[in-house]
Symmetry: C2
Subunit: 380 residues, 2 copies
Amino acid sequence: MIYFDNAATTWPKPEAVYDAVVNTMKNYGANPGRSGHRMALSAARIVYESRELLADFFNAKSPRDIVFTSNATEALNMAIKGVLKPGDHVITSSMEHNSVARPLFALQKIGVEWDVVKCDSRGFLDPEDVKKAIKPHTRLIAMTHASNLTGTILPVEEVGKIARERCILFLVDAAQTAGIIPIDVQRMNIDLLAFPGHKGLYGPQGTGGLYVREGVDITPIKEGGTGSLSEHLEQPRMLPDRLESGTLNTPGIAGLAAGVRFIKQKDIENIRTHEQKLTSKFLEGIKYKKGISLYGPGDPAHMCAVVSLNVMELDSSELAYLLDSKFDIQVRPGLHCSPLAHKTIGTGERGAVRFSFSVFNTEDEVDEALEALDIICSRI
Amino acid sequence: MIYFDNAATTWPKPEAVYDAVVNTMKNYGANPGRSGHRMALSAARIVYESRELLADFFNAKSPRDIVFTSNATEALNMAIKGVLKPGDHVITSSMEHNSVARPLFALQKIGVEWDVVKCDSRGFLDPEDVKKAIKPHTRLIAMTHASNLTGTILPVEEVGKIARERCILFLVDAAQTAGIIPIDVQRMNIDLLAFPGHKGLYGPQGTGGLYVREGVDITPIKEGGTGSLSEHLEQPRMLPDRLESGTLNTPGIAGLAAGVRFIKQKDIENIRTHEQKLTSKFLEGIKYKKGISLYGPGDPAHMCAVVSLNVMELDSSELAYLLDSKFDIQVRPGLHCSPLAHKTIGTGERGAVRFSFSVFNTEDEVDEALEALDIICSRI
């Protein structure tokens, strides 16, 4: 089987990830940060070390700035709803996922004003257009780091600079880039970074997080037991406790840490190079194929390892079904939870088939996919 | 090591739980409900079967009524914030955990009115007192099924009847009872049931859920990608999608299902009998010990397997530390994230040490704990 659906969830994971999850469940199965007994302290240590690791990975100032969530969607909701109040203005790109668009759609109803800056048909954003969209009451710029549809990398650094200069909070959705493209929250002027654990960081599903720059106040969307200041009915103000109510997913977090260690050991630059090589080979291979409509930049330097296409008039679900059933190649068809992005690139009606690669994919697998596309194209 | 902190997280888990988590990560690691390829469909099937299993376990009408969350706290926040609007009135008991109390404390600031019905010093609630607290604008009664501090079982069935008769929504926090005491949402007139996966259901940390009776409208606290109706910026109305944004914790959910299967195989009545036997033995053993202050009903028929106590003037953390370091017995000291309950039983200042048993604990372990308490009492 060839798995090319890594933009949804990376698979397989490094062996160390499976081991960390099981080892934690079996040997450190207590509740972290609650009781003071030895197994609870061991669990708390696992969580703390994972926090340290992620803080270092994204160059956060302190492990306290890393909040664990169950996925990137939760992190994005926390950030968006924790910051925006009625009367505030927010700017996004037109390449956003529904995990940004749907919370904002909901907030519009309570008086949050939302402007979408249009990207071009390959998904590129002009930072000048963001600058022009700023209003006196702009409170937040929320932007994906790379499109989950076209792989297009957005100019995070440039927009971060614009946001910081105007004291506007800057939220980055790193769903497609965490673990894949180096992220430095300080250098990039990122105030809030939402990241999934189960994609480029090679952790298990059920993990993710939110980086919160010290001093940024987030009103929690969930309150509850934090194991701290238990005597108070008011949610504690200190991070990460303020945003981490209820029992954490300790085995998942241990697995996520193992994923991050795997990346550090491989070096993210090597991973990026490998994925660019696969993307480049795939793009070269389809460039001259008749009947293929390719979306996005078409240039690995400006993309993460995500390529979307359609074949002639074939429905995207049908193409994906053929690839799966006849060639054992697993890709994702449809709308990819990103209607704004589809509208931007002109595939709002039919969707597209997405190929997405991970560090575990090989050039031979890309060759097989190209052959499969050849055969499909020749038979239609 | 003797682990008596099962009210926080049960440990160990049945072997089948560890196996299900790893097997899912290794062999069904795709994203459920997103792509249509075979591994994604297998992952979706795992999630659906788990939903079916839990619906059957709580006697819900349909698997659609089960929403997966990352823990019970998330489920409680979803229910409370999804239902209550400014101007609504809510009633709780005085034995609630901070996962109910803190969201309500926050909602008070936006105009939700909250009345706490006082339980007696053993944690018992008189349903008549709930009836008396009802106002014309009472929208919700939220109540724990059993106290995480004293184990006291609250009269869910009686209060459910009162709520249903008056068309008031009834939310039950089953953090201490799911998998331990049989729950039938239809018979008990429960509209919303929040449950953790990692306690009495023997699933992994990072799992839990919310049962939502068909027809109860919950405004989501999180929106995002649901893999359904992707073309719409409005969150879908259908359950469970409406409340399940972002990638689910498939391996965790598979582990939770394995935990529920374990309970079904053992039969919940047998588990309850075993835990009552342990509780009874423990209570008998400490009844005549000098210097021990026991809290709660002191009668296993009215409790889940949770016993809290203090020894003379010893600080609860010190007692727990002695038990851990000298006798290898792991218990939880302090305030247990339940300041309202501590106030009710009169331990708001000093906290208490909690012993909580699971199906894996034995009578010998209880004997060892009793001996340890003897030694500690004799030395003070």
